[in-house]
């Protein structure tokens, strides 16, 4: 009894010393913590916002949101109360931004009995939200605060009475009766309308305009915007309940309203919270511990300390992981004392095992302090290492001080030095755990793999891009997950049009889709309205709702800009008529059949591509990177064009730790997807892989710092006498094989004359389960006298080889490429000996061939030195059978060479023309450049007396074939550039003449 009285006296003294007792983390503190959590969460990632279809700004959603009870949906508005705190006290530009809505939720989670305004739902008018902000990870009842403890004045006789409607903080936040065992079962008729369940439903409605059950609830953008506001407001409420776990009074059942302890739910004032609020507001003249702090130190310095953001497998873990004690409540409960649960409190008051109640415990470090007071009273400060089970570390801080006024040292208290130490540990964790739960909420990611796309339907498969969680076809109750497609585009007036598929589609047939795996089935959706022919920027989103990891009713989102028929990225070198500068995407508009230009900008790609994962004869994936203009043969003069960049779908997708010489996607035994890359150092070709996700870090794998990093999985030693250490590698369509040719110089005697020729050794990697299974040297041929392999590629998974043949010059898989008529005119000297000397009699195209930025061949003078080039193959794509080449001939009347260069595909040949490669044996429309005839004789100057009837084209940009087998080629000389496009004219699409255009070949899938 004496002890009890003493406590009361001391409490009065403390209050008097403090002078101005003030208030849980308070509202400005919650606002500040939430703002910081937003900044560290995925919500500050513009990529995620784009995927969600929202942009942050001053007021992207307006000022309305929904308050949904089980009975009715009521529109509410953000109020002056929270706007004032956010904008005037926290100095945030707008309380209506995404971060503003989060902060608004965090602030309004402290509503109490109609303060600051009455809840519109009658049953909630007297709601006391702070009662639900407690969670005791030690008390097995776990029913939140012992607020309804019936206590006589003698506190030792307190009887805990848990009111039947009390909920612990995690239960209240998630919206269930037990966050740990019934986390997927929402409490029906719950009084908290801003739970995780509510946030999730609001998110689904914002994304789709539909309820989970399928009915349409939002037909306008404004209505969907109100659901966006609702989503973030509700998440703000949830975040508040995580932040409170970083206040030990909330995890040690220590009510702190400032009312007498004998009162129901009373408790002393939380000086800790008031002091932290003073720091959050940088208050001037704040009184604490009997002294006045002229200007409180801002919190920014400690909350930005960068505690690592936790990533757990279920929501409740952010509060407590139970046995492993990694939740925030676990940390604050066992790490700290509170004013009402302090070291000296008897076991029925401070009933927590940690920190130890015995001040003689060996874990304490004691500092004796002599106070500058009359009689020099002594006090003892107890320090102790606070354990962090998540990081496995601990930090020693001041925990409690034994009272100078108590000769028995049986009374301990806290002061602002202790509060500073507590805050330095707790607030960074409040921010990090809050960011973590936001990240977890938005973790579901999908990739869309379009199979067919028309103006009215889309058929697709999807892959699960969520980092750790699998997608399941059915949830724990046997309910099938669903997919719905939304679309948006700009109509011909520039207005954004939004729509959805006509129905949700169940995915009950799927079992488990692990991270990076694709769905087994494909799913077809019909649009609610057809996409008009003149629609621009068509973008679809795929929204999954169902079981993801431990969460039965999660949401995962995928987004894709729909290129209806592949196409190319072009760069007009002056401003097109539509006024949009930069790279542009041209594609075949399926409704008109003509080439059209998208208004998308900022696209990019490499000029060498891998096409793979073929389905029905068409690749479903394309990667590209920078490589030789001719595809297979680098430019010895200009150097090696390789860079570390890998592109996909018009954007930079991955950055390798080295210059990419070959790349592909592969699947491992578990069907996980990997990006495979080959490059080299000074002694070896190096094979790396990383998980196939959009990631621009070139970092090598590290379990702690770069778990998604590049893994070196093989190296292939280079020969010492290589002519070039770089050699392009080409993968097959499945990513299970790759081959390259390595160039080595050797001297051989041809026709009795020693000549330097190259040897091409062919190497082959066999890949299994995204790992290198074997490396073979398939050998090579010396010189060009035999059937030497000079290029290798894959048509899907079938190897295709380009060989040099003594009789046929170039052959593909044994078939000659050029006609006898063409290659029989191999030697100028045979037709016009002239002053340059006669052509060596035994010379052939084969033994006069050189490989440099393509393939050159021509006559050689009798002394073995090269003469004039007669043939130049500029671009080859063995996969498509495309050869673009020119032939020069002194006889300009010779009918064969009336054109200036040729494109050959299969057995078809076209001079300066373009044909439809989708039908390889049929010539399509020819689009000759205007004014062509007037430039027929430009080659005169270049070739001197050896007159060329056509001018020699030079590869401009590149030559390429898109996914739909359309061909884009460029012809250029020092005067003009012409671009040719299968069955069309690029100038029609971008409204610029062909010569003012360069292009990158591969736009996506």
């Amino acid at each position: 009894m004496i002890r009890g009285r003493l406590k009361i006296v001391i409490a009065v003294i403390l209050l008097a010393a403090v002078g101005e007792p003030v208030s849980a983390y308070e509202l400005v503190t919650h606002g500040l913590l939430t703002y910081e959590a937003f900044g560290r969460s995925v919500l500050s990632d513009a990529g995620l916002l784009e995927k969600l279809g929202v942009e942050n700004g001053k007021a992207p959603f307006g000022d309305e949101y929904y308050d949904n009870s089980s009975q009715e949906e009521i529109v509410r508005r953000q109020e002056r109360f929270e706007t004032q705190i956010i904008e005037k006290e926290l100095k945030i530009e707008s309380s209506f931004s995404i971060d503003g809505w989060l902060m608004a939720g965090a602030i309004r989670e402290d509503d109490y009995e109609g303060h600051p305004s009455r809840d519109p739902h009658g049953e909630n008018a007297e709601l006391r939200r702070p009662l639900y902000h407690f969670y005791d990870p030690v008390d097995p009842l776990n029913r939140g605060s012992a607020l309804f403890v019936e206590c006589p004045l003698n506190a030792q006789n307190c009887v805990k009475r848990y009111a039947p409607d009390l909920r612990s903080a995690p239960d209240w936040a998630i919206g269930t009766l037990d966050a740990f065992t019934w986390m997927n079962e929402p409490e029906s008729g719950r009084r908290n309308h801003f739970t995780l369940f509510d946030a999730r439903e609001a998110l689904y409605r914002a994304l789709t305009g539909h309820k989970k059950a399928g009915a349409e609830v939002a037909t306008t953008r404004e209505e969907r915007n109100a659901y966006w506001a609702t989503t973030f407001r509700a998440l703000g409420d949830v975040v508040h309940l995580v932040e409170d776990m970083a206040q030990p009074q909330h995890t040690r059942n220590d009510p702190h309203a400032g009312l007498p302890a004998s009162l129901v739910g009373g408790g002393h004032k939380s000086m800790y919270e008031a002091y932290i609020e003073a720091r959050a507001t940088t208050a001037r003249g704040f009184g604490v511990d009997g002294a006045s702090i002229a200007h409180a130190e801002p919190l920014n310095t400690i909350i930005g300390a960068g505690y690592p953001i936790p990533a757990f497998d279920k929501y409740s873990d952010y509060w407590s992981t139970r046995g492993t004690m990694q939740g925030l409540a676990d940390y604050s409960n066992r790490g700290f004392f509170t004013a009402g649960r302090n070291l000296s409190d008897p076991p029925d008051v401070n009933y927590y095992p940690e920190p130890p109640r015995d001040s003689a415990d060996a874990s304490y470090v004691v500092d004796d302090m002599v106070l500058a007071l009359p009689g020099n009273p002594k006090s003892r400060m107890l320090r102790r290492a606070v354990p962090d089970a998540l990081t496995g570390s601990s930090t020693e801080v001041r925990l409690t001080v034994e009272s100078v006024w108590d000769p028995h040292r049986s009374t301990s208290s806290l002061n602002h030095y202790i509060y500073d130490d507590m805050a330095a540990l707790l607030l960074p964790r409040a921010v990090a755990y809050s960011a973590g739960i936001i990240n977890y909420f938005f973790r579901g990611k999908l990739d869309i793999e379009i199979e067919t796309s028309t103006s009215s339907t889309i058929a697709l498969k999807f892959s699960n891009r969520t980092v750790r969680d699998s997608i399941y076809g059915t949830d724990s109750f046997g309910q099938a997950g669903t997919l719905i497609v939304t679309y948006e585009y700009e109509d011909n007036t520039g207005e954004k049009i939004f729509g959805t598929s006509t129905a949700q589609v169940a995915i009950g047939g799927e079992t488990e889709i692990k991270p990076n795996e694709s769905s087994n089935d494909s799913y077809t959706f019909s649009y609610d309205n057809p996409i008009p022919a003149d629609a621009k920027k068509l973008r679809v989103r795929l929204i999954f709702r169902g079981k993801l990891g431990n969460e039965d009713d999660a949401i995962a989102i995928g987004m894709l800009d729909v290129p209806l028929s592949g196409g190319f990225i072009v760069t007009p070198n002056y401003l097109p008529a539509d006024g949009i500068a930069g790279t542009r995407h041209i594609y075949i508009d399926e409704t008109t059949g003509a080439w059209a230009v998208s208004e998308q900008t900022g696209l990019t790609a490499g000029n060498i591509d891998w096409k793979g994962w073929y389905e029905n004869g068409a690749p479903t994936r394309v990667l590209s990177w920078e490589g030789p203009v001719s595809r297979y043969f680098v430019d010895r003069v200009q150097g090696w064009p390789f860079t570390p960049n890998i592109y996909q779908d018009g954007t930079l997708y991955s950055v390798a730790p080295c210059e990419v010489e070959g790349a592909a996607l592969a699947r491992d035994a578990a069907n996980a997807e990997w990006i495979m890359v080959i490059c080299h150092d000074d002694v070896s070709d190096l094979v790396y892989r990383r998980p196939n996700t959009l990631n621009l870090s070139p970092d090598l794998y590290n379990a702690d710092t770069a778990p998604q990093g590049w893994q070196l999985i093989a190296s292939v030693p280079l020969a010492e006498n290589l002519a070039y250490k770089n050699s392009a590698w080409f993968f097959n369509g499945s990513g299970t094989e790759a081959q390259t040719l390595r160039f080595t110089y050797e001297t051989v005697v041809l026709n009795g004359i020693p000549r330097s020729v190259i040897v091409m050794d062919r190497y082959k990697l066999s890949i299994s389960g995204a790992q290198v299974a074997s490396i073979e040297n398939l050998g090579g041929d010396r010189g060009f006298t035999a059937a030497s392999v000079i290029a290798v590629d894959y048509r899907d998974n079938t190897e295709t080889l380009l060989r040099l043949s003594a009789g046929d010059w170039l052959t593909v898989d044994g078939n000659r490429v050029f006609s006898a008529e063409e290659i029989n005119a191999y030697c100028y000297g045979n037709l016009d000996p002239g002053p340059g000397g006669s052509c060596f009699e035994s010379s052939t195209f084969a033994n006069s061939t050189s490989l440099n930025n393509g393939i050159y061949a021509g006559d050689y003078l009798g002394d073995g030195t090269p003469g004039w080039v007669m043939a130049h193959v500029y671009y080859i794509d063995l996969r498509e059978g495309v050869f673009a080449y020119s032939l020069s001939h002194p006889n300009y009347n010779y009918a064969l060479f009336s054109g200036n260069y040729r494109v050959r595909h299969g057995t078809s040949t076209m001079d300066t023309g373009v044909f439809t490669l989708a039908q390889p044996d049929t010539l399509g429309d020819v689009y000759a450049p205007s004014g062509y005839a007037s430039y027929n004789f430009m080659g005169v100057y270049k070739y001197g007396r050896f007159f060329s009837p056509g001018f020699a084209p030079m590869a401009q940009g590149s030559w390429a074939v898109d996914r739909a087998h359309n061909l884009f080629v460029s012809e250029g000389n020092s005067f003009h550039t012409y671009n040719y496009l299968t069955a069309g004219n690029p100038a029609d699409a971008v409204n610029v003449t062909g010569e003012a255009l360069t292009f990158l070949p591969v736009y996506p899938r």
Binding site: E20, P21, V22, S23, A24, E26, L27, A59, D63, E79, R80, F81, T83, Q84, I85, E87, K88, E89, K91, E93, D110, Y112, E113, H115, P116, R128, P130, L131, H133, F134, S145, L147, E150, P255, H256, A257, G258, L259, P260, S262, L263, V264, G265, G266, G267, K269, S270, E273, A274, E277, T281, T282, A283, R284, G285, F286, G287, S292, A294, H295
Partner: protein
């Protein structure tokens, strides 16, 4: 039963008492010369602890008022008294504002020193935003119209800092505050939304 009755009586007695504050008076001087400064705005804010919640407590604003210094640098904010239920404790915070000046730091007495501001525009705006925050009584549904002169002075300085009549970053917060005082929260929001949508 007796226990509950006692508790109820204590609760009533704590939450229904009248609040009184002020007066606050003093002099504003040049921090270096200690000469009086005329035309400085002095805003005083009283906050307390709300015990409306029995689980947690909140710092709430009780009252805020403003005075302007006379030619001798003197100011006086009169005493106030009214019923404000559910508030315990009381803290007084005094902020000095004069365009182009900054208050000196340190403990306060009845003499408040200010000196010419050497801040960058961003730092200056940040300080002005803090002054605006002090001149806000959170939760009050009625605008604090007695602070209009101060808010107007902030607005005028913001325009001078921005060098234009309107700027969405520097001027906007003070224009909004002025409109909120004059027209109320709802109308001020409408006006601001119009400005945002026209940008």
């Amino acid at each position: 039963m007796i226990k509950w009755t006692v508790a109820g009586l204590m609760l009533i007695s704590l939450t229904s008492c009248g609040m009184v504050g002020g007066p606050v008076s003093g002099v504003v001087v040049d921090a270096e010369t200690r000469q009086p400064i005329e035309g400085a705005y002095v805003v005083a804010q009283w906050s307390g602890s709300s015990s409306v919640s029995i689980a947690e407590s909140q710092t709430v604003c009780i009252y805020t008022d403003m005075a302007k210094t006379d030619e001798k640098g003197r100011f006086r904010i009169p005493m106030w008294f009214f019923q404000k239920p559910g508030i315990t404790g009381q803290r007084q915070n005094v902020e000095i504002y004069k365009p182009g000046y900054l208050p000196e730091t340190g403990s306060r007495s009845d003499e408040y020193g200010i000196s010419t501001s050497q801040s960058s525009i961003n730092e200056r705006v940040d300080y002005m935003m803090a002054v605006r925050g002090r001149a806000t009584c959170r939760g009050n549904e009625e605008p604090e119209k007695n602070l209009l002169a101060l808010i107007n002075a902030l607005y005028e300085e913001s325009k001078a800092l921005a060098g234009v009549e309107y700027d969405s970053n520097i001027v906007e917060p003070f224009l909004y505050s002025k409109e909120e005082l004059i027209f109320g929260y709802t109308r001020a929001q409408e006006l601001r939304k119009k400005r945002w949508s026209s940008q």
